[in-house]
């Protein structure tokens, strides 16, 4: 068990190293000089070389890479080429907003998918199962941004129940925070929930066919209790896999929804940085997203070990 955890941790560390090198490498490979890009076409040669010196762009690439990674390890991603502001606090602020949005969306998705997916599996031959199945199919087909626009049209413009956009920190005004969070979280959560529902359904269907579920019923458990006590944990492995993938998708997918709802998250920071040609900020934000995805995968791996004792043994 401990060996398995150590193994996964090693995989995480190696992936972090490789991906940071890749992100850095891609930025280097991009045509154009970051200083010139940041200063724009009208900058003089003197300005450009001053900026290059200031940001250490004259140093060898390895040295630049190491100082960037070293900064990241100490949670100091450096200074913006354009605004000369510290990038760290900006990312921290934006990341907090994005994480809240993603967490809320995921909660909605899971709260929808577990009960409905299970019901669809249990009633897969009945009309109720088919109706749910068709509904989820529609949900899968709708992109999140379209769901967002539809939700705004109905609940903000027509019914005027909820604000159409904006963001209020929870500590500042909890009521307003929740009102503004609801629509963007729903547009991401409904769509991801529809996808997840289908995976929950197939995982539960698989588990319903297992011999040990028949054993559980032969012991005197009703079908529902047998499913809850013996089936769900076994159905969890494939569901957790999809959940991990969805979290990763959401982290990146929130970019569009943040635009639609004017939310100051990591996504808008990234888009702004691209617009301002602030390459170091782009590089940092991309790296933060990569780290988040890798951590999600790491947690998923640990969850596998927690769920299925068969995976804990090292030798096979």
């Amino acid at each position: 068990m401990l060996l398995r955890i150590a193994e996964r941790t090693a995989v995480l560390l190696v992936s972090l190293g490789v991906s940071s090198a890749l992100v850095f490498g891609f930025m280097v490979l991009l045509p154009g000089d970051p200083a010139r890009v940041a200063l724009g076409v009208n900058a003089t040669e003197a300005d450009v070389s001053r900026l290059r010196l200031e940001f250490g762009l004259e140093r060898p690439l390895v040295e630049q890479y190491l100082s960037w990674v070293g900064g990241l390890v100490h949670l100091d991603p450096g200074i913006s080429y354009v605004s000369r502001a510290q990038i760290g606090p900006q990312i921290a602020d934006r990341l907090q907003v994005s994480l809240i949005l993603v967490a809320a969306s995921m909660t909605i998705a899971v709260a929808l998918a577990l009960p409905f997916g299970t019901l669809m599996a249990v009633h897969h031959r009945k009309a109720s199962g088919l109706v749910l199945s068709a509904l989820s199919q529609v949900g899968v087909a709708v992109p999140a941004f379209l769901a967002g626009i539809l939700l705004i049209t109905v609940f903000a413009v027509q019914l005027r129940w909820l604000p159409a956009s904006g963001w209020t920190p929870p500590a500042y005004d909890p009521g307003m925070f929740l009102q503004q969070l609801l629509l963007p979280a729903l547009s991401l959560g409904l769509v991801q929930g529809a996808v997840l529902t289908r995976y929950v359904r197939s995982a539960v269907l698989d588990v319903l066919r297992e011999d040990f579920l028949r054993t559980a019923r032969a012991k005197g458990l009703t079908p529902m209790r047998a499913l809850v006590r013996h089936g769900l944990r076994n159905a969890a492995v494939p569901v957790v896999t999809v959940l991990g993938l969805q979290l990763a998708t959401l982290l990146v997918g929130a970019v569009v929804i943040e635009r639609v709802f004017v939310i100051p998250g990591l996504g808008s920071l990234l888009l702004d940085a691209v617009g301002n040609r602030d390459l170091i900020v782009v590089q940092d934000v991309v790296m933060v997203l990569v780290v988040a995805v890798l951590i999600v995968n790491f947690v998923v791996d640990l969850l596998y070990l927690a769920i299925d004792p068969r995976l804990r043994t090292v030798a096979r």
Binding site: R125, T215, L221, T222, T313
Partner: protein, 359 residues
């Protein structure tokens, strides 16, 4: 009156004393199946199945795969797949809470009535030990659960202690340690012992075993069989033992029913049926199982053809398309000849034995 067959192939821990005296009342029926029929769509899977198991009695159910043996067992458990429509009657009598006899009409009972019966009045050991246990739950907890479900022990702690005791009784080395193991850490034979411990935990009135040793190594088979026989003997429970291994039936059971094409084609005491089979199918089955018997032209006896798919058996005698003795007479369902559902056969051209022990 039955006697143990001469060629006991497995050590079964001694046969029980033969029961006879007329002054003691006959033991109560623990399972009573009458006119059981199961159809899917319009295809018949079981037709007119009559079967009785009494307390302390060990009954074998034999036949090729696809004969309807497992389906009969699942019908008694009330575990038939939802799309199958059973008719007839299946009555299970066991000890309900407080030792008061409880009778369940399986085909009519609701899911809660059935759940109360399963694992308490009647328990089942399935064929495949590798998949019968929940892979994410410790085996001790799985054994304990069947007792907490039916509240046959005071509390969870008592259930856990009793589970260890039961695992010890079924011969798991270091039962306390084994109780903490997950199924994948045990061998197939050990897992089947766990399943047997689970099935016997609540002292059921009837134990159904569906080919419990087929998936096991030959060396382990005898041990698990012994466990099952001693387990039901100690509880004076009835045993319904499904297998296609005739040697196992001969060593374990007192009575036997032969099934083919969803029907019971012959029934009787094991010794009678095995030494003087009347139905042509039984004759073929025994001939095919007897490795000492070979055809004059070489090779072992077999039954020609193969078992048709469900619902594709011929009308009339279900065996007639594979039977060398079939005539036009067999196009009608042959009547049951015998003293009752427990002894007799349904064959228009039965094997006649005074002519010299077989055809």
């Amino acid at each position: 009156m039955t006697a143990a067959p001469e060629h006991t192939a497995y050590p079964v821990g001694g046969m029980p004393p033969t029961r006879t005296p007329a002054d003691t009342p006959p033991p109560a029926d623990v399972a009573r199946v009458r006119d059981l029929a199961v159809t899917v769509g319009h295809k018949p899977l079981l037709i007119d199945v009559d079967l009785t198991v009494r307390r302390g009695e060990r009954v074998g159910l034999i036949g090729e795969s696809g004969s309807g043996k497992s389906l009969t067992a699942l019908a008694i458990m009330g575990l038939l797949p939802e799309d199958l429509a059973p008719t007839g009657s299946v009555v299970v009598t066991g000890q309900g809470p407080g030792g008061i006899a409880r009778t369940t009409s399986v085909l009519e009972a609701g899911e809660h009535g059935l759940a109360a019966m399963r694992g308490r009045d009647v328990a089942m050991v399935f064929q495949e030990p590798m998949t019968a246990l929940n892979p994410t739950m410790r085996v001790g907890a799985q054994v304990a659960e069947v007792m907490t479900i039916h509240r046959t022990v005071a509390d969870r702690g008592a259930a856990a202690r009793r589970a260890v005791e039961l695992l010890d009784k079924v011969g798991l080395p270091d039962a306390a340690e084994a109780a903490r193991a997950y199924p994948h850490q045990l061998s197939g034979g050990q897992r089947q012992r766990v399943v047997v411990a689970m099935a016997l935990a609540n002292d059921p009135a009837l134990l159904i075993c569906d080919e419990p040793t087929t998936a096991l190594d030959v060396t382990v088979q005898a041990l698990v069989l012994d466990l099952i026989v001693r387990g039901v003997e100690a509880r004076d429970a009835g045993l319904l033992f499904i297998t296609h291994d005739l040697a196992v039936v001969a060593s374990v059971c007192e009575r036997v029913l032969v099934m083919y094409g969803g029907r019971v084609v012959e029934a009787g005491p094991v010794l009678d049926v095995f030494t003087r089979p009347r139905h042509r199918y039984t004759r073929g089955l025994i001939g095919a199982s007897d490795l000492d018997l070979s055809r004059p032209e070489g090779g072992l006896y077999t039954i020609q053809g193969s078992v048709p798919a469900a619902g594709r058996f011929p009308a009339g005698c279900v065996f007639r398309n594979r039977c060398t003795h079939a005539t036009v007479e067999c196009e009608a369902v042959p009547p049951w000849v015998g003293s009752g559902p427990e002894e007799g056969f349904a064959c228009a051209h039965p094997v006649v034995h005074h002519e010299g022990g077989g055809s």
